[in-house]
Symmetry: C2
Subunit: 216 residues, 2 copies
């Protein structure tokens, strides 16, 4: 395999894909997007071709440096190790622990419980209440944790991997009509982050596969 331009398998609305898009944007990594529509054709992630790439049948997947990496946090950590500027993990191990704790809280403790495949299992009637409960429960914890870690952003005043997880999760919260006034710290940080270029160009409303009616 040749190491050409990285290829991101992505879905415009996938919050996990958005995390990686922000990392790529912040690090000024030029890449190509191959859209994987999670709804169309019964879900293009279930195609044989895509399953060969990611047996978990999920986006994102990143082809880079001759390998394919799945799982958004694993991708971001790889980018950080191989393209360290600007850094997405602080230098201090204790602050790195805070960044990873918040990232995993969102990526392991909130998002998986409100993703498409789980909501399908839960059923149409109950899915809004389920998603709201899951996100609120995680945000209650997160709001409390941020009291002691946050500066301008989730951990201090530098953008970190935790912020890459926060913004897409807040967007999901908005989709599921979670009352964000209950989470002033989360909301404030989210707003500051959305003002940054990297969070804007990676936004679901500005992707190659964004439907025209949802375009910014």
């Amino acid at each position: 395999m040749q190491a050409g331009k990285p290829i991101l398998y992505s879905y415009f609305r996938s919050s996990c894909s958005w995390r990686v898009r922000i990392a790529l944007a912040l690090k000024s990594i030029d890449y190509e997007t191959i859209p994987v529509n999670l709804i169309k054709d019964g879900g293009q992630q279930f195609s044989e071709e895509f399953q060969a790439l990611n047996p978990m049948k999920q986006v994102p997947a990143l082809k880079i440096d001759g390998i394919t990496i799945c799982q958004s946090l694993a991708i971001i950590e790889y980018l950080e190790e191989t393209r360290p500027t600007p850094r997405l993990l602080p230098r201090d191990p204790k602050k790195r622990a805070s960044v990873r704790m918040i990232s995993n809280l969102i990526a392991g403790g909130i998002q998986p419980l409100q993703n498409l495949s789980v909501l399908k299992e839960v059923g149409q009637e109950k899915q809004l209440a389920w998603a709201q409960k899951t996100i609120s429960s995680g945000f209650n914890a997160l709001e409390q944790i941020l009291q002691s870690t946050a500066g301008k952003y989730c951990v201090g005043d530098e953008v970190s991997m935790a912020d890459l997880c926060l913004v897409p999760q807040v967007a999901n919260a908005e989709r599921f009509k979670v009352d964000l006034t209950l989470y002033p710290t989360i909301s404030h940080i989210n707003k500051s982050l959305l003002a940054l270029e990297a969070f804007q160009v990676s936004h679901p409303s500005r992707q190659p596969d964004t439907p025209p009616e949802l375009r910014a």
Copy 2:
């Protein structure tokens, strides 16, 4: 805060706690266990005292070096950065990516969907089928991924963070009566790992809070 002996808030049967116990054992870190019974008293993780420690109301939590870290992967990465011997992440960034991909697949893609709080929501009748489906779906993917990453263990021939995630997840699969003969690679690696001292002393059957009838 003084940096004394680390304190692990743990529940003998929690697969996420077991991950961290293996890391502590492999790195020969002496620590004290404070058991948090997830069942008794309606769940001791819901106590005010514990919520102050981990707002997510989950084990494990590790007090170490004057800080408290929650989320098992964040804890393991911190231990790796501050106590690097023996290493739980390979030196090569591409192999590190494989380790983190597998770790996150289990910690984000399987375990959260079959943990106690989700099963409660799903309800008694459906919870066995739900857990089996979740674990099987993840193991189908994992079995395929391991074809290209595994040596003696999940990634090559050195024990890594991925293995710390694998063994406790296989134990959960056994509890939920998942047919493991479908996953020969997973089963084989699991067996090799269980032969290691660090996986034995950290086993749920040998913890301070293991009920007498479940003791090895």
